[in-house]
Symmetry: C2
Subunit: 227 residues, 2 copies
DNA sequence: GCTCGTAACGAACAACGTTCGTTGCGGACG
DNA sequence: CGTCCGCAACGAACGTTGTTCGTTACGAGC
C-alpha cells in the first residue's frame, strides 16, 4: 500500500495529503480541544468533508497515532554533556512535546511505541543508558520504564492544558477537596496537605528518582530463570 | 443532594440504585469490553432504558469514576511486615485491581484522585513512607509518583486484557515490529531486541527502582525556594 | 482526444450521550 | 379508607459522532 497522492491540483486549494491532515488535526486539537477533534471538524478546516480524509487516514485512531508521532518529531536529541544530563533533557523534551497537545499522550499508553520518531527517541535513550554502563537487560527495562514515565507524565500534565478552564483550576479543585476531607478517615493526607499541594519541579525530581533507582537496581534478579 | 432511593419495589425486578448500576457497568466492561460500555448497554442489562440511569449517575464520566473507585474497594491494606514490603504489596494490589478492567485506569490519569477508596490507599501509602523515615515533602511527592506508576502500569497492562484479542497478541505484534526494523536507523533497538522483549517481573523491578530511588533522592533540592 | 484509475465528495447509516415531557407507583395526609 | 402528590422510571426525540457506499470528475497514459 503506497501513499496516495492527490492528482487534483486546484489552484485555489492545496491538495490533500496525509501530512496536511495530521498537521490540521494538531491545529484543531490545540485550538479547540480534544472534544472538538472530530473527523468532520478536521475536514471542515481543510474545506472538505469528513469522508475525504479516509483516503489518507485509516480511521480516527490512526489519525491520532500519526498526530502523536508528528508531535514527537520536533524533540531534539541532545548532543553533548554527561549521559545522565542528556537522558534528563531527552525525557523532559519528550514529555513537553506530548503534553503540549491535550489528551494526545493517552493514545501512547497501552500500545507498543511504533512511530518513527518515538522509536528514534527510544533508540537514543537506549544508547545513553548503555553509555552509562548498564547491562543489556537493565538498560532495556529502564527504557521501558522511562517511556512509561514520559507518557504518564505527559498525560497528567496534558490534562491541565484543557482549553475550557484556566490553568490553575485543577489546583484550586485539589485544594478544596483536600481541605474538606474528614481528618479522622484520612489522617495522613490531611496532615500532609501542605507538602502534597506544594509547588516545585516534581517532574525533574521524579526523573532523578528513576535514574538513581535504575543505577542501583539491576534487572537480573527479576528474570524468571534465576534459580 | 441526597442519594435517590427507588420506591418502586416490583417483585420481578430489583430496584435501581447507584451501586447496582456501577456494578453492572463493571460486568459489562469485563464481559464485552470498553467499546461496549455504553449507557444503553448498561441500561439494557438492567432491563431498562438509558435514561433511567441518569437519576443515579450524572453522566458517563461519573459512572466510570464510580466504577474505578468500586474496583479499588477490594484492594487489601497490608497489615504486617517491613514497610517496604507493605508498600510493594499495596502498589501491586492496586495495579492489579485497576488493570483487571480494560481501560478503566485511563480515567484516573489526569484527574486528582478523589474517590473514597483511592484516598484510602493513598493515605496508607503516605503512612508507610513516613514510617520509613522520609521527610514530609519527599513522602508526599513519592506518593504522587507511586500513584502515577500504579495508574500508568494498570493502563498498560489493562490494554493487553482486550476482549477481542488473545493475550499473546500484543507481544507477537511487538516481536514482528522489532524484527522488521531497519538496523541502520535503530541500531540499539535491533541490537537489544532480545532484552527488550524478554520476560520477567518488570512491574516489581520498576517498583524496586522507584523505592530505591525515593530513598536516595530527597525532594528538598527541587523546591522553588531553596536558594 | 478518448479512456480509465482513483481522489474527492455528498448522502446515508447505525450508534452514541443526553434531555425532555409524561407516566404511574408509594408514602403521607385527611 | 380514599385522595393527593413527589419523584423514580420511562419512551421518544435531538444533535453528533465515526464510518461506508455509490457517484462524480479530474489527470495521466495510450
Amino acid at each position: 500500500m503506497r501513499a496516495p497522492v492527490s492528482r487534483r491540483a486546484r489552484p485555489a486549494k492545496a491538495p490533500l495529503s496525509r501530512e496536511v491532515i495530521v498537521r490540521t488535526g494538531l491545529k484543531v486539537l490545540d485550538r479547540d480541544g480534544l472534544d472538538a477533534l472530530t473527523m468532520r471538524r478536521v475536514g471542515q478546516e481543510l474545506d472538505t468533508g469528513a469522508a475525504s480524509l479516509y483516503v489518507y487516514v485509516k480511521n480516527r485512531e490512526d489519525l491520532m497515532d500519526a498526530m502523536l508521532d508528528t508531535a514527537l518529531a520536533d524533540v531534539p536529541l541532545p548532543a553533548e554533556g554527561p549521559w545522565q544530563q542528556q537522558v534528563e533533557e531527552l525525557v523532559v523534551s519528550a514529555t513537553e512535546a506530548m503534553s503540549r497537545h491535550e489528551g494526545l499522550a493517552l493514545v501512547a499508553l497501552g500500545g507498543i511505541p511504533s512511530g518513527e520518531h518515538a522509536l528514534r527517541i527510544l533508540d537514543r535513550l537506549l544508547a545513553l543508558l548503555k553509555d552509562g554502563g548498564l547491562d543489556d537487560m537493565t538498560a532495556a527495562w529502564a527504557v521501558d520504564l522511562l517511556y512509561l514515565y514520559i507518557t504518564a507524565g505527559a498525560a497528567e500534565q496534558g490534562a491541565y492544558n484543557t482549553t475550557d478552564r484556566t490553568q490553575g483550576q485543577h489546583l484550586a479543585d485539589a485544594e478544596r477537596l483536600y481541605a474538606e476531607l474528614p481528618a479522622d478517615r484520612y489522617p495522613m493526607i490531611t496532615a500532609l496537605r501542605g507538602p502534597l499541594l506544594s509547588a516545585g519541579d516534581r517532574e525533574r525530581w521524579g526523573l532523578q528518582v528513576l535514574l538513581n533507582g535504575i543505577l542501583n537496581t539491576p534487572a537480573g534478579g527479576f528474570t524468571p530463570a534465576d534459580t
